[in-house]
Amino acid sequence: MQKKLSKLLAAVALGVTFTTAAASADPVTVFHDKPFYQSGWDGLTATAKKDGIDLNFSAYATDQFQAYIQSSLMSGDAPQAFTWWNGTKLKEIVDSGQLAPLDDLWAKKIASGEYDASSAAPFTVDGHIYGMPTGLNRWVVLYNKALFEKAGIAKAPATWEELIAAADKLKAAGTTPFNATIQDGWRGFVWFQELLLRTNPEAYAALNQGKLKYTDEPVQNVFKIWTDFYQKGYFTDATSQEEPLDFARGKAGMYLFGDWVIGLVEKGGVKAGTDFGAFIMPNVDPSLPNAVIVEGAPIVITKAGMENPDVVKFTDWYMSENAMNSWATDPGLYAGNLKAKTPNPIIAELAKIAADGKYTSVTRYWEASPSEIVLPAVEEFNRFMTNPSEEQAQKAMANIEAIASQYWASKQ
């Protein structure tokens, strides 16, 4: 009887221990501002569960998310894992001293052949890698194959002359060549960054480092081309709020954007590779080096997070082929894992081009320039896009320069 009682007590004690342990193990929660990737987050959660990881994603609107991360870092109580941006935005947060470097994790993943070393570049600050990619997106020109065919354009433009010829042919065939809007208030920089990179990549780098003025000749040249494009009727109505769907509906023949938009375009009933293709915007001067703008969106881990074994386990799992296969089930998502499947033929092709090393990756303007300059600059670009006159172009350059010069002076 006594033996039975001791067995029963032991079983109860064991049960209590396990129950307590199970109850105290919180899931790993990743905070983010990307609810539009919901199917991707859901896929990761389900796959993680199968692999024994209790994973959770918590979505915020971007403004609230930034405010939350800022305030929680200030109070020293930041979430252990959250999405962020690369470039200057990543540096700002690294400088707070609360992020954990992920150099060892990346070294392991590069050694296993799952990642190319260049994939870590967007997340590298002062020689250390601070993020795991949710996206490594190239900014390319999507083109509507049916409209190209209708306008008599045989192939995707490979030179600047071919690009202009294609635009003129589309215009002659009654199609607006380029889809470009100020939707959501942040898209104004898209054509600015691309035109500056394609005309003068050194100026692009110098501008982002405060070594060039917004009123200098290279920027003047960008606005000259941009204004000229508007005067020729190359662009769609800048005020549309359905930019990806506008392209899917055939409102324009070409669409310059990050490749993550492909999934959103496909929601308009067209298929990547079949109905539309993509090409990297050619340089104005063919002798300029090949370059492609890359946007890297990382998940970062705090130092406190790396002390949590569940979070450490999550980081290793997240960068695996298995996790990235589930991430890519969403039509637009690809985060650079070379062994994982690509979500569509365009991204597969772009990943191949990137792996070939023939194109230099250039950080997107949004992340390459300080946000103190980028935000007001984007407002000026937006203003220009709704009133694309030479006078407005001059005002835009002068206004941005006033802010930029003040900012860089404060940093000296």
Partner: protein, 315 residues
């Protein structure tokens, strides 16, 4: 005291006046503590969630708030100087004044006209429900719907084109002279039903005798309205105007949804500008300075309207 004791002789065995006063004081103190105990949760709530943030915001506006590390430097009036030299602040103040000015006049005037129109007519309840319906939706939802109403291919432009008035079609939310009026039209569309219902309640509560007497004396309908209805309705009108002005002054969701993308933020009001600077641009201390100015203006307006109501009540 002695004189009092002499004047009012107390029955034998009764406590002295001093003892009674002391007992009364004790009871008063006890009542005060009891009252304070009952009020403590409310006082605590107001202190923690209203007064503390207000004073903290005031303090924050005098600092340089570094992103990611917090309050790190006292900056005196630097944020207010920046505010005074920022054209966007003046744009936002001007837009706010437009909102307040329009909210002062139009919703109450239109609401009163509608109230007079529907009062006593057949189907009054149906009309009331129809006009009140927009107030049932959140301002965010209304903003999204009206964004598409004003869109290039929205119902207004399509309608104008359909009736051969395509020249009048416009980019309603993207032309600087049209964007704020367009947003205000939406705001009035949403608010006017509430004003009408409040004024109908006020109208129905008016005594009928003065109007009947005036009728007997041969006063016309407009005379009755001007000299009897309006003065009697004034307290309700002031209450309605206060509600309307404060709604216009603090209008955020509608302006954020409809005007956020307007290039260069030139349609934004102070409250939206404050949000933008604090939470989008990350200038928390500067945003606090805008909030202080916003608070001062809001309190001034609310006090002025309160004083007006007080003066009318005294008449």
């Amino acid at each position: 005291m002695k004189q009092q004791q002499q004047a009012f002789a107390l029955p034998p065995g009764a406590p002295s006046i001093d003892a009674m006063i002391a007992a009364e004081n004790r009871r008063a103190r006890k009542r005060l503590w009891t009252a304070l105990a009952f009020m403590a949760p409310a006082i605590g709530f107001v202190a923690i969630f209203l007064l503390l943030p207000v004073f903290f915001n005031l303090y924050a506006s005098l600092t340089q708030w570094a992103k990611f590390s917090g309050l790190n430097q006292f900056a005196g009036l630097a944020n207010y100087q920046r505010l005074a030299s920022n054209p966007k602040f003046y744009d936002a103040t001007w837009n706010t004044l437009i909102w307040v000015g329009v909210s002062f006049v139009l919703p109450a005037t239109i609401g009163l006209s509608l109230a007079m129109l529907v009062r006593g007519v057949k189907g009054e309840e149906t009309f009331k429900s129809i006009f009140f319906l927009p107030r049932m939706f959140s301002a965010t939802a209304v903003g999204v719907v009206w964004y598409y109403v004003y869109a290039n291919e929205g119902i207004i432009n399509s309608g104008l084109r359909a009736v051969g008035l395509g020249d009048l079609a416009n980019r309603w939310l993207y032309e600087s002279h049209l964007a704020t009026p367009a947003m205000i039209v939406t705001h009035i569309w949403q608010q006017v039903g509430l004003m009408m219902v409040l004024l109908l309640i006020g109208l129905n509560a008016l005594p009928s005798e003065p109007m009947e007497a005036a009728k007997v004396d041969g006063a016309s309908r407009s005379q009755i309205f001007r000299h009897i209805v309006l003065p009697l309705l004034m307290p309700t009108l002031i209450m309605v105007t206060t509600v309307s002005v404060l709604a216009g002054f603090t209008s955020f969701d509608l302006v954020w949804v409809m005007g956020r993308d307007f290039p260069n933020r030139s349609t934004l009001t102070l409250s939206v500008n404050q949000y933008w600077e604090s939470f989008r641009a990350g200038y928390w201390a500067y945003g606090s300075a805008i909030a202080v100015v916003l608070g001062v203006i809001a309190m001034s307006i609310s006090w002025s309207l309160g004083a007006l109501q007080h003066r009318l009540d005294k008449r």
